[in-house]
């Protein structure tokens, strides 16, 4: 959840009054009501120069990716508002799916502006250009216009109706497993944890629940979001969201709760399939690349997960590993299996129980660690795709789940570079009158293209669904 992690918005499900979101401030509504119009002559020469300087500064010294001028240029030229509108609106003409949808802006002064809504996608674009938010978030579709929420007489007149089913996986929760990076850093090695999460969740959402329109988005630093956009998923009430989140959630307990995976056998088909999918990752990531158990403190944790009946085995391993500090994680893992086979000094160890424990450990180290609170309630706000992460400058691009393993977070376009790419392209082509959209002049092109295809497929399904509905109504009218 990156920057919003500490704001804890996930834990409140009380609609309009979650603490982090009701932020203090500024009567922005006053400003907003006087429509900002086209007050921003798009590319005044002097502004151009200022922007050039900013870009240079942003690159040279401490980057300020969310500088107002950079953000304005980004929203003006690169943000794919057109497809965002189509994505949320589900039909060509503006519908309530879009107009009653909540947007929340984080402004330059860190003020947080909730309950924004827009009659058209273009007006959303205009407000972004005029206010240059560092990012904006998407909430639910409400039963009435979010801007008019104060007119509602009671809570049933203003309540969240629909919303994509969302999932949030953050590298934060893998910190105890990573050895390559810590904190905000992420590299392609530890990204593997999120690849696993995408594969497990995506497979389950499609095969088990039958959803088809699942948009995976990079959060800009070290997390991923999933937006399940099928109409059936959007219409789930909170109790069903809680159920699906519970189905997906496996690791139980906080730092003090010991072994976090304790599941009955035989494994549920979803877990059986996930285990199969994760086993090769476990070998590659945990045993080889991260070599998680090389350090004795981490190896101690591994030992603590062994069943109580393996006390003798545990002591034997502890001694063996202490006398040979060079043993790798993989060797230690194999030691458990080998010693158990040999009977480890005549103890009567239940090899089946040990095998199950090893499966549990594989899952504890590789199964997706969800922030389930995010999925449970419709009114949770989630950063919109294609926003810029203020810390890294990287754009929150979509990820193709079929190619999740190839995704490299360190190769994701950075806003300042994108703006320079436009300039370079224009310098090269020199054709100011060209109809080529700005994003096509940059390395953002494939991502926008992917998003467009996604939206088109979704729209097609929506129209088919609506047509069928109309026919059903037609039939029943004959009675």
């Amino acid at each position: 959840m990156d920057s919003s992690a500490e704001s804890g918005d996930g834990s409140s499900s009380q609609g309009s009054s979650s603490p982090a979101h009701e932020v203090e401030k500024i009567k922005m509504n006053d400003i907003m009501d006087e429509e900002s119009d086209d007050e921003f002559p798009s590319s005044m020469p002097s502004e151009q120069v200022a922007l050039q300087q900013k870009l240079a500064t942003a690159k040279a010294i401490s980057p300020r990716y969310s500088d107002p001028d950079i953000m304005r240029a980004f929203y003006q030229r690169l943000y794919p508002f057109r497809f965002l509108f189509r994505w949320l609106n589900h039909s060509p003409k503006p519908s309530k799916d879009f107009t009653f949808r909540e947007f929340a802006f984080t402004l330059q002064n860190d003020a947080y502006l909730r309950f924004q809504s827009f009659p058209t996608g273009d007006l959303l674009r205009k407000q972004c250009i005029s206010m240059t938010p560092t990012r904006f978030e998407i909430g639910p579709v409400y039963s009435s216009n979010p801007r008019d929420r104060k007119l509602a007489k009671n809570t049933s007149e203003f309540k969240p109706l629909t919303r994509e089913l969302v999932f949030d996986v953050d590298m934060d929760d893998y910190d105890s497993l990573r050895t390559c990076c810590q904190g905000a850093k992420v590299c392609s090695k530890c990204w593997a944890f999120l690849t696993m999460a995408i594969q497990v969740l995506d497979t389950s959402l499609r095969d088990d629940f039958g959803y088809e329109h699942i948009l995976w988005v990079y959060s800009g630093r070290r997390g991923v979001h999933a937006w399940v956009c099928d109409r059936k998923a959007r219409e789930l009430d909170d109790s069903k969201r809680k159920a699906i989140a519970g189905y997906m959630e496996l690791l139980k307990g906080g730092d003090q709760s010991g072994k976090k995976v304790n599941i009955k056998r035989p494994l549920h088909p979803h877990l059986q399939r996930s285990l199969k999918l994760l086993e090769p990752h476990f070998g590659k990531t945990i045993l080889t690349e991260q070599d998680t158990w090389r350090h004795s403190s981490k190896a101690d944790h591994l030992l603590s997960l062994l069943p109580p009946s393996a006390a003798t085995l545990r002591i034997a391993l502890q001694e063996a590993w202490a006398s040979d500090p060079s043993r790798t994680g993989r060797q230690k893992w194999d030691d458990i299996t080998d010693l158990a086979k040999k009977g480890a000094g005549g103890l009567d160890l239940d090899t089946k129980a040990l095998h199950h424990t090893q499966q549990d450990i594989v899952l504890e180290y590789t199964y997706p660690r969800l922030d389930a609170a995010v999925s449970r309630a419709r009114n949770h706000l989630l950063k919109a795709p294609f926003c810029v992460h203020p810390g890294t400058g990287r754009v929150c691009v979509p990820i193709d789940p079929d190619k999740a393993a190839e995704f490299d977070p360190t190769g994701v376009p950075v806003v300042t570079e994108l703006l320079e790419e436009i300039d370079r392209w224009e310098a090269g082509e020199g054709d100011e009158e060209s109809k080529v959209p700005d994003w096509d002049k940059t390395s953002l092109k494939p991502y926008v293209g992917f998003f467009k295809d996604f939206v088109t497929r979704l729209e097609k399904d929506e129209t088919v669904g609506k047509k069928r509905e109309r026919e059903d109504v037609g039939e029943s009218m004959e009675f």
Binding site: E22, D172, A243, S257, H268
Partner: protein
Amino acid sequence: MIRHDYNRIDPKRRPYDFKKKQFAQAEYKQQDYAHRLNFYTLPPTAEITLEQFEEWAIQRLKILAELETCTFRNKTFEETTDYISKLLEKHLPLHANSSRSTTLQDERRRDHYSHFILRLAFSRSADLRARFARLESALFRIRLRTDDTRERQAFIDSLDLQWEKVGVEERRELAAELGAVLTQGLNNKRAAQQAAEEEMWVKVDWEQVPELVESRRVFVKKGKAYVPGKEQTSLVVGEFTRRLEAALDLTSKALPGLDEDDRLTPILNHLSNSFTTPDAAYSSDTPVDGLGAPTADQVDALSKHFPLCMKEMHIALRRDAKLKYDGREQYSVFLKGLGLSLPEALTFWRRSFRTTTDDDFNKNYRYNVRWQYGDVGGDANRRAHGRAPKSCQRLLTEPLPKPGQTHGCPYRTYARENLERALKDDMGVRDPQVLAQVRDDVGRQRYHVACNRVFEHLHAREIKKVKDENIWGAAELDTILHPNTYFKRSFLLKQLGQGGGSGAAIEVKREQDETMVD
């Protein structure tokens, strides 16, 4: 807890006419009840007296309130069934046909009417509706499970539920998956698959059985849940809940038109008012005697009176110089309940996050503290003076913490070794007998019993004293159900134990006022 404050309203014996007032098209006659159980699809149509109207509703309400208490105390389904069955026998008996009781029809009529009266009373707010649906479903589940097997099947058949049966071929094809679902705990693969093929399976939209999906007790494929026969009761209860929720929604929309009979309004209001929320148990407005207004500096000293949940939070905060959101929320409102003012709270948190910069603190944490005090936020939040301190029930029913977090009730969230370590090191409980009893309580999921046990152990001397000297009555020594009650009682007891000078328990000197002004 729920107040059982049912004042009688003068009985007016003029009969209340259900037919005319609400269900004008319904047939006016006494219904005949073939089954013990009822989906409450049809409203009652015969007349009853106002006295019956009120009395029946109150009897049912008592049952629902007791049911809620059971969930609160984390009783298992079996324990709850056991306990409630006795009460049902007394207040709301409902016998099977096989009992050959002569009052069968009367019992069923009472059950039918009282359900519909409460439906009226509790359809006024979304909160009440949700609670009513939850408790009625729990009651229905108990009755369904305890029903005579043959009569239950007859009842289920009478419902004409449209479930798609899973054919032999599909069962064979999915034998491995179905077997895994059916026989969790049974390890013979072959036997499991055989059992799966022979089981009666139905296929429904997964959304019809969310609780079975959540606990992975069904096989889910392409949006369909495959439900084994043994979970059929879940399906029936699910259907019951779904229909009841829909009906409550309809009733709430029709409500304004139902208020014509002004004899009913006070009764209905009274019924719904007596169903007060159990969470509002601790008021932070009442100061603790002898404590006055504690300051940020005093929290360390006061922490010796904290229950384990808050003690752990305090220790984690001191150790890590930070606390995740859920932990902060839980701990902050607890301190607020102690009487820590907003400026003191801000001082406390600012200092506790000692490795965080001012800028970061102001940006990320300050607002939340102010929000919890109702200093900022929407009208509702300000009016309510922010968040109320969380009760044990809240802590016990919230989702479990995830990696990196420490909030919640440690009796519930900690692994056994860690719990014992915490009790020994952090609370100073060393008596092996007490530890063994706590282990037993926790094993039976009686977390609050374990916590109360620890309290009684740590305050044994003082409790004895106030009992012996008759200073405190039973009410003051009732089971603790709120972390702030734990603190308050501990603080007061230790003070009494010390001969009770006011403020004697606090050894910390007050530093100069260092308020953080907004």
